[in-house]
Symmetry: C2
Subunit: 248 residues, 2 copies
DNA sequence: CGAAATCTTGAGTATAATCAAAAACGGTGG
DNA sequence: CCACCGTTTTTGATTATACTCAAGATTTCG
C-alpha cells in the first residue's frame, strides 16, 4: 500500500475501493478528474454554513472536521474527515450548506467543480452509485455518532470515536502497527463528543492509566485493539467496508 | 391540501415535491410505482439491524422511528419518520442494514422492491437525483440531531425536536393551526434525546408551565411558534425545503 | 528563547440519572 | 357503562456524571 505523498497515493481511489468495486476504466476516469489543489493551514474554514459552493473539496492529506455552531455559540463537530473524504459532496445536490468544514491540521485539498463531477457521473453511471453510496455511509456514520453522544458516557464514548478513526484511517493506508498520527486536540474531541475540554482530559488520563491508549505528541498507539473495541462497544458494520480490513 | 386517508393523499409525492420539482411525467411514474401495502400495529420492528432487505418501505400513515441498540442495551432513536418518508431507502445501496426501524403508532406501510426502484431510477434519471437528495437531507437531519444531543440541554433540546417534527409534518399536510397528532411517548422522546423518561417528563412539565406547548392526549398545540423556535434555537435551513413552508 | 496554544489540576456546582412507587390514562371485555 | 389491566405519566429522594471557573504546567512553534 502506497504511503501518503508517494506519487501513486490517491486517497480518493483508495477510499472508493474500500467501499465499492471499480473497473479499470472507472479508476482511470477518477485519476483524470480535474482538481485545483491547494494547501490550507490548520484551523481555517474551507467552506461555511450558508455558502452555496459550485465545487466540492477532496481531502488529499491532513484532517478536517464538519461542524455546526448553535445559536448559543457552542460548537458541535459531527464528523472528522481523513484523506479520501469529500466532506461537502452533498453540495452537489443541496444548494445551501447547512454546516461548515474546517481544517484541523495543515491540509492539501483538491477542489473539484460540480460541473466536472456531474460530467463524470453522467459518463460513468456506476460512479454515481459509488458517490451515492459514499454519502449514505456518511449518513450511517452520523447515525452512529448520535448514538455515541446520546447513549455512551466518558471513556466508552471516547473509545468509540477512536475506534472509528482507526478503522477509517486503516482503509486508506494511514495506520501501521496499531498506531497513527492523530493531530486532534482535546478541545476538538470535546466539541465532537459533546464534552468539555476538562472532561476530555480526565477521560484520556483514565484511558492512559488503564492502558487503553498510548500517546506521544500527536501519535496514538493502541496496545490492545480488542479491549478498546470492547470498551467503545465498537462494531464496524456501519462503515460498510467491502472487506474485513474492518478488523484493523 | 388533501388530508390523510383522502384518496388523493400520496405522501411520497407530497414529500418529494417539498424538496424537488417533479414533472407531470415523473409524478405519474411515482404514482404508478408498485407497492405492497400492509398495516402494522404499534411497537413492531419493520426491519432490523443486520437485515439484508430486497425492498424498502414507504411510510403511508402513522409514525415510525429509526433506532440503534448499543452493546450495553440502551436504545437511541436517531430519527422519527412521518408519512412520505422511506426510512430504509439507503438499503438500495448498502446491503446490510446498520439500524432498525420500528412503528411508533399503527402504520400503513408500502413495500417497494429494490428492482422496481432501480427500474424507476433508470427510466427517470431525475428521480435518482430526487432520491439521492432525499437521503442527503436525511443525513443533514442526523447532523442536526448530533448537534442537538451534544450541545443543547433540557427544554432547548426537546423544543428543537418538536420544531423539526412540526415543520416536517407541515410539509406533508399534517399540521393545522399549529397543532398536530403526535403519538410519541415520553419514553420514546427519551430514547431520541439521550435523556431518561423521568427527565423528559420534567422537561415537558416545565414547557407546559412556560406556555411553550399544550398537550391533550396525543394532540400537540404550539401556542407561540416563534418562541418555541427561539427556545429550541431552531433554523429550518437544514431541512432544505423548497419553499418557505419552513415558517410553519 | 519567548509567546501562544494546549494540557492539567482542584474545588464547587448543576444537569440529568437512578431507584422506587403512586397516580392517571386508554383500551378491553363483561 | 363501568370495572379492570397494562401502559404511560408523575412524584420524591438520592446519586453521579459532567460542567464551571480559575489557575498553573507543559508543549509547540516562530
Amino acid at each position: 500500500m502506497s504511503a501518503p505523498f508517494h506519487p501513486d497515493y490517491n486517497p480518493l481511489i483508495l477510499k472508493l475501493e474500500s467501499i465499492f468495486d471499480l473497473t479499470d476504466e472507472e479508476r482511470q476516469a477518477l485519476e483524470k478528474l480535474p482538481m485545483q489543489v491547494q494547501v490550507i493551514k490548520a484551523d481555517q474554514d474551507i467552506v461555511r454554513e450558508g455558502d452555496r459552493p459550485s465545487r466540492s473539496c477532496l481531502l488529499l492529506s491532513g484532517f478536517t472536521c464538519v461542524y455546526k455552531i448553535t445559536a448559543g455559540g457552542k460548537r458541535q463537530i459531527v464528523s472528522f474527515n481523513i484523506p479520501g473524504d469529500i466532506p461537502d459532496l452533498q453540495s452537489l445536490h443541496l444548494k445551501v450548506l447547512d454546516n461548515s468544514v474546517a481544517t484541523i491540521s495543515q491540509c492539501r485539498v483538491g477542489f473539484i467543480t460540480h460541473d466536472d463531477l456531474r460530467d463524470l457521473c453522467n459518463r460513468y453511471p456506476r460512479i454515481t452509485s459509488a458517490f451515492w453510496r459514499e454519502t449514505l455511509i456518511e449518513a450511517a456514520i452520523f447515525r452512529e455518532w448520535v448514538t455515541n453522544v446520546g447513549r455512551r458516557e466518558g471513556v466508552s464514548r471516547m473509545a468509540h470515536v477512536l475506534c472509528e478513526l482507526l478503522v477509517r484511517l486503516k482503509a486508506v493506508g494511514l495506520v501501521e502497527d496499531h498506531a497513527c498520527d492523530l493531530p486532534i486536540t482535546q478541545s476538538e474531541f470535546a466539541d465532537a463528543l459533546g464534552f468539555t475540554t476538562v472532561h476530555v482530559n480526565r477521560v484520556l488520563q483514565q484511558m492512559r492509566a488503564e492502558g487503553l491508549i498510548v500517546t506521544q505528541g500527536t501519535r496514538l498507539t493502541i496496545p490492545d485493539w480488542d479491549r478498546l473495541k470492547q470498551v467503545g462497544e465498537f462494531d464496524p458494520t456501519y462503515l460498510h467496508l467491502k472487506s474485513d480490513q474492518a478488523a484493523a
